[in-house]
């Protein structure tokens, strides 16, 4: 069975690549500052050209991420494709019952796996986690970037809170993305060592049927979408 169907369009794949580059660079430059006491961070900051250049790199990729986010917002709002994807990834009550079913299945309490649509509850959680995280990061990040302007209106303790949230939110996004990806698209026995969907945009039909049964049922009767 070598049949595959398109899961991510070229547009989505490009968005994903820009997102991952900016996220990785922001993590490397940001987490090195947050955990500045360990030797790896010291090495990393030296590699990044010192504390000042580190900041420049961080802000450069922050701009890229913000622009990408704005583009993404327009894309999900005003394009048919984007809007359809937004609808597909919107959380529903079913996600909660899916979660319960999955846990029951994994614990051996039930023999029936939940059936997922295009995005399962973990993927939705991941997406919305990143959306919320990025919005928070952008707001707090801008306050800290323009600290001389922020100072004119904010007391120091608010800027301290902002710094704290920016740092911890970064850690949280990093952990969630790292673990989700590590599991879902790398260590997952179905795809180990790595799912190629992010490169070619395709998912094998068999895997689609296994992991996204409802999506499979929708797509497969429509033979046009089935590709080799």
């Amino acid at each position: 069975m070598n049949h595959s169907v398109e899961r991510l369009s070229k547009n989505q794949r490009i968005q994903h690549i820009i997102l991952l580059i900016s996220m990785i660079m922001l993590s490397l430059t940001g987490l090195a500052l947050k955990f500045h006491n360990n030797a790896f961070s010291v090495w990393l900051i030296k590699l990044e050209g010192g504390i000042w250049v580190r900041g420049l790199i961080h802000r450069f990729f922050a701009i890229i991420l913000i622009l990408l986010s704005l583009y993404h917002l327009l894309w999900v709002t005003f394009t048919d494709e984007g809007h359809k994807e937004l609808m597909a990834i919107t959380p529903r009550l079913k996600d909660f019952s899916d979660f319960i079913k999955k846990i029951a299945y994994n614990l051996g309490l039930s023999n029936k796996q939940p059936e997922f649509d295009k995005y399962d509850y973990l993927q939705k959680l991941q997406y919305w986690g990143v959306v919320a995280g990025t919005v928070l990061m952008a707001i707090t990040g801008l306050v800290l970037w323009f600290v001389n302007q922020s100072m004119a209106i904010l007391p120091k303790w608010v800027i301290d809170v902002t710094t704290l949230i920016h740092g911890w939110d970064g850690v949280l996004i990093f952990i969630v993305l790292f673990l989700f990806h590590l599991y879902n698209v790398h260590l997952n026995p179905e795809v180990f060592p790595m799912s190629k969907t992010w490169i070619d945009g395709k998912i094998p039909v068999a895997r689609l049927k296994h992991e996204h049964k409802l999506e499979y049922d929708k797509l497969i009767p429509d033979k046009e979408n089935e590709k080799n």
């Binding site: 069975m1 070598n2 049949h3 595959s4 500052l33 500045h36 900051i45 010192g50 504390i51 000042w52 999955k102 846990i103 299945y105 994994n106 614990l107 051996g108 973990l122 600290v147 001389n148 302007q149 100072m151 004119a152 209106i153 904010l154 007391p155 120091k156 303790w157 608010v158 301290d160 809170v161 710094t163 704290l164 949230i165 911890w168 939110d169 850690v171 949280l172 952990i175 969630v176 673990l179 989700f180 599991y183 026995p189 179905e190 795809v191 180990f192 190629k196 094998p204 039909v205 068999a206 895997r207 049927k209 296994h210």
Partner: protein, 374 residues
């Protein structure tokens, strides 16, 4: 002379008459006896000749340009100094005759105070690398020499209360040239602690600037180079014993190091604020003092040195924030919230993943045999 003569006598004993030998012997003995007293008398030194003139109070010389050279030397001062066993000419080595015709040159302490002097004089080699020593080397007539700080005829051991460079007195000595800094220092918490309250552990000029090896603040080797200031302050402000004994606020250094200023400083930024940027270098005053740079009323101005928009509103909140202390208030709880959120997210994700792997293992999916499509 003596040695050469004796060699001459012993090398040719038989060729000379007994009288000649005796005569030579007598001359030798006389020479030896005459040469001895100069050494023996060096115990109480021969000030007397010099003090014939220099011991007269008010002895001075008016130079052609109208300047008055005070030439009186106080004998008791000399006798009580650390150099009481030296001759005048041991230091004033260019005086060969009395009365001397020329004005003697400046005394060069390095004649004795060089490294590894077998007589044990303290070395002062570092001095020549210092900002003061560099001026001396460059021939600047205003350059401070050893005697400007240590005194000349009245030099005492450093731990003597009479010493000009004693911990208590050195600020006054430095202040002779560094007047504005001295004026600030004596009003500062450090100056009043040392000079008014006689707290011996309180810092004076040399505590921060060093002694002989005083370098300019822009020299990276200097103890007060922006990146090194924190080390200087840490000597006392991280000293648990001093903090407890004198009730000094603790955690100043560790909280600074956790701030952006501290991190940037650690990674070599000289633009960023160090201790003295906010607390000042010499006029360091406690927060409660209205003149203090860190008094609430002055804080906006102090922050404003770098951050032009800092205002009184900005100064609300602590500057030295210890995120791990409950006294920090909201910051502590937000930090704790995120810590719990992060750890629980991590834990739940792990559990979820492990459960999934466990089920896959149980149902025989793991092992790659069931790989779908790829």
């Amino acid at each position: 002379m003596k040695k050469i003569n004796s060699v001459a006598v012993h090398s040719v004993p038989d060729k000379k008459t007994k009288i000649t030998v005796k005569l030579f012997g007598f001359i030798l003995l006389a020479a030896a006896i005459l040469s001895l007293p100069t050494r023996a008398v060096s115990q109480p030194p021969l000030y007397q000749k010099c003090l014939l003139c220099h011991g007269r109070p008010g002895f001075k010389k008016i130079l052609p340009d109208g300047k008055v050279l005070e030439l009186f030397v106080n004998k008791s001062e000399l006798e009580n100094s650390i150099h009481s066993k030296l001759h005048c000419t041991d230091c004033h080595a260019d005086v060969m005759e009395i009365p001397h015709l020329k004005i003697p040159g400046k005394v060069n302490c390095y004649r004795c105070h060089y490294k590894d002097n077998p007589n044990g004089a303290m070395p002062a080699n570092e001095f020549f690398q210092s900002v003061h020593g560099q001026m001396v080397t460059a021939g600047d007539p205003k350059a401070p020499r050893c005697q400007n700080c240590h005194g000349s005829h009245n030099i005492q051991k450093v731990n003597s209360p009479l010493s000009t460079v004693n911990h208590q007195n050195v600020a006054y000595t430095c202040g002779k040239c560094h007047k504005p800094q001295y004026d600030n220092y004596i009003q500062s918490i450090h100056g009043t602690a040392l000079l008014d309250r006689h707290i011996k552990s309180a810092p004076t000029c040399t505590t921060c600037h060093g002694k002989h090896l005083i370098l300019k603040p822009d020299n990276p080797e200097s103890s007060i180079y922006p990146l090194n200031v924190i080390n200087v302050c840490s000597k006392c402000h991280e000293n648990k014993e001093l903090i407890r004994k004198y009730n000094i606020p603790g955690g100043r250094i560790s909280t600074y190091k956790e701030s952006y200023h501290g991190i940037a400083d650690e990674f070599g930024s000289v633009r960023v604020a160090n201790c003295s940027s906010c607390h000042r270098a010499h006029l360091i005053l406690p927060e409660s003092n209205p003149r203090s740079s860190i008094n609430k009323a002055n804080l906006a101005k102090t922050c404003g040195k770098c951050h032009q928009n800092a205002n009184i509103n900005f100064t609300k909140g602590k500057i030295h924030v210890n995120y791990k202390s409950k006294s920090t208030g909201i910051l502590y709880y937000i930090g704790m919230f995120f810590e719990i959120l992060t750890v629980s997210t991590l834990t739940l994700l792990f559990i979820h993943i492990l459960l999934d792997l466990f089920r896959r293992y149980k149902s025989g999916e793991i092992g790659g045999k069931n790989k779908r499509g790829e």
